[in-house]
């Protein structure tokens, strides 16, 4: 399947899951699904991926389903009692979810630990972690940054979903934009900025960073749009929280069909 089609297919599944569950956290999954495609679909066996912004679990579940890690039959159980697919990833359910997340600021220290383990074992595995920009407010981000730089973890690749919105405001207006590239450069990271919805550009950026064995941990600061793909959701804080009604759902699916499956679009 071509990545451009996969961007549409997974969005369709995300919308289905949230509509059936009558649940929110749609905008944050649509914001990062392309980042996940660029990492997940192009990582090697032995590499690890942590979704630190656990509230985008539906994006993770859809790509795991597409990869065969979650059976089709499990997908409708999302949000239902007795499910293995709660709103934030659960511990010890799937090998490809090494850590349950949900409380922000945990993924980067965990990924740094995984990278440190690979360094000691002298293997070539890459430790990936996907964070939200609001999440970088957490102090653990900066503890882990110092640790990663001091330990020369150039096998650590952080991807920041920089959609500019956090729980209750714009990231630059709440306590300041802690995902700003100059901060990460000052910390000692190897920093690249990319369009977070352009799979080709993301993969090329990732590959370029990983060829640089310079002792610097890597970060892709990906400019994204919360709710990407659905006109009425884009850049709207509301779609961190709201479920869709029937009319909104049908419009959303229609827009995805038009934007991602029509020839010569995007």
């Amino acid at each position: 399947m071509k990545p451009i089609t996969l961007q549409g297919t997974l969005r369709t599944k995300i919308l289905e899951m949230h509509y059936n569950a009558n649940s929110g956290h749609i905008g944050c999954s649509l914001s990062c699904i392309d980042l996940m495609i660029a990492i997940w679909k192009y990582k090697n066996p032995g590499d690890t991926f942590i979704l630190s912004k656990g509230h985008a679990a539906s994006a993770l579940y859809t790509i795991m389903n597409d990869s065969g890690d979650i059976p089709d039959a499990d997908m409708p159980t999302f949000y239902k009692n007795g499910t293995d697919l709660p709103a934030h990833p659960a511990p010890l359910k799937y090998a490809s979810i090494p850590f349950a997340t949900g409380s922000l600021g945990h993924g980067l220290p965990l990924a740094a630990g995984i990278a440190k383990a690979a360094q000691i074992k002298n293997n070539t595995n890459i430790s990936y972690v996907l964070m939200s920009d609001g999440e970088t407010n957490e102090g653990t981000t900066w503890e882990a940054c110092h640790f990663a730089v001091a330990n020369k973890l150039d096998n650590l690749l952080v991807v920041i979903d920089r959609n500019g919105l956090q729980g209750f405001g714009n990231t630059d207006k709440v306590i300041g934009d802690t995902a700003a590239p100059h901060l990460w450069e000052a910390m000692g990271f190897d920093v690249k900025i990319a369009d977070g919805h352009d799979i080709k550009q993301l993969v090329e950026t990732k590959n370029e960073l990983l060829t640089r064995k310079n002792g610097k941990p890597k970060v892709i600061i990906a400019n994204t749009v919360k709710g990407k793909g659905i006109s009425y959701m884009e850049n709207k804080l509301d779609w961190h929280y709201l479920p869709m009604n029937e009319q909104q759902y049908l419009q959303a699916q229609n827009e995805i069909n038009t934007r991602y499956f029509q020839p010569n679009d995007q």
Partner: protein
């Protein structure tokens, strides 16, 4: 206990390729040899305990067993969510080692004390909290802990040898009295105050004494249950608050086992009465955990 701990690691575990030692920037005049011996597997994570425990969980997920060492309160409270979400939810072999449990850091003040640590940690899933009372007990605890493929906490304090009258057990130590009238159960090095009090007490031969080295306690050891059934009199002693510690656990288990209790006294850390600060012995005295008060309380049973 700190020296015994580092010596144990140096002599028994430092060469284990799957063992990582992370310190939160502590260990001056104690861990230098271990650092030299372990090389890259000895990591100073700096003054950043949350990251230290997160990193430890990440490394443990890749097959390592990881010790995180610091002063007890710093490695228990600041990084509690990392211990819960990252370590315990995933049942990973990360061993938190806290030096100076209870009022161990004395005049350093309340920031350096850990008198709620067992309450805080022992309810987390799959964790074992070790609180050795005597130096002799430490090897039992450490052997058990390092054989675990799951989370643990080791609380270190002042180390004294176990009195000759005691018999070591897997769960601590015991001294069974023939004419049994009182069951004393203690936890951690404050047990030494009790053994001193007991050795001088005229009722010594009528008192059975036990220490418990591992929490959470889910069932009473048979010897303790028998002793409580015989005496109906229980005294628990711990350098920890009354909530979520030894006394409350023993009371619950004895009640569930329908053991008849005539008199139950819990001696425990009372916090900071009068908001005054001093040595470990000073704080023990304010909480009634000193030898003289323990003697006084023991005598109240006779």
């Amino acid at each position: 206990m700190r020296k015994h701990f580092s010596g144990y690691i140096e002599n028994n575990l430092a060469n284990r390729d799957d063992l990582i030692f992370i310190t939160g920037d502590l260990g001056y005049a104690a861990l230098e040899n271990l650092q030299a011996k372990m090389g890259p597997r000895f990591i100073n994570a700096g003054v950043a305990e949350q990251n230290m425990v997160g990193v430890a969980a990440g490394m443990a997920s890749q097959g390592f067993s990881v010790i995180c060492y610091s002063i007890a309160p710093f490695v228990v409270y600041r990084c509690l969510e990392q211990m819960r979400n990252d370590v315990c939810f995933h049942n990973l072999p990360v061993y938190i080692v806290g030096n100076g449990g209870g009022y161990g850091y004395g005049i350093m003040g309340s920031s350096h004390h850990a008198i709620e640590d067992i309450a805080v940690l022992s309810g987390l899933p799959d964790i074992a909290c070790y609180v050795p009372a005597f130096i002799d007990d430490m090897n039992t605890c450490m052997t058990d802990m390092f054989a675990r493929r799951g989370p643990a906490y080791l609380r270190l304090g002042l180390g004294k040898p176990m009195p000759a009258a005691f018999t070591p057990t897997p769960w601590g130590a015991m001294k069974i009295a023939a004419g049994n009238k009182l069951t004393v159960i203690a936890q951690g090095p404050v047990a030494n105050n009790a053994t001193e009090a007991l050795s001088k007490n005229p009722h010594n031969e009528s008192i059975s004494f036990f220490t418990i080295n591992k929490m959470p306690l889910t069932t009473l050891p048979a010897e303790i249950a028998t002793s409580i059934a015989e005496t109906g009199n229980v005294l628990t002693i711990e350098e920890h608050i009354s909530i979520g510690g030894l006394g409350s656990t023993v009371a619950l288990l004895a009640s569930e086992a329908a053991l008849p209790i005539k008199k139950f006294i819990s001696l425990h850390a009372e916090g900071y009465p009068g908001k005054k600060y001093g040595s470990q012995a000073y704080h023990q005295q304010l909480s009634g955990l000193d030898e003289a008060n323990i003697s006084h309380v023991i005598n109240s049973y006779f």
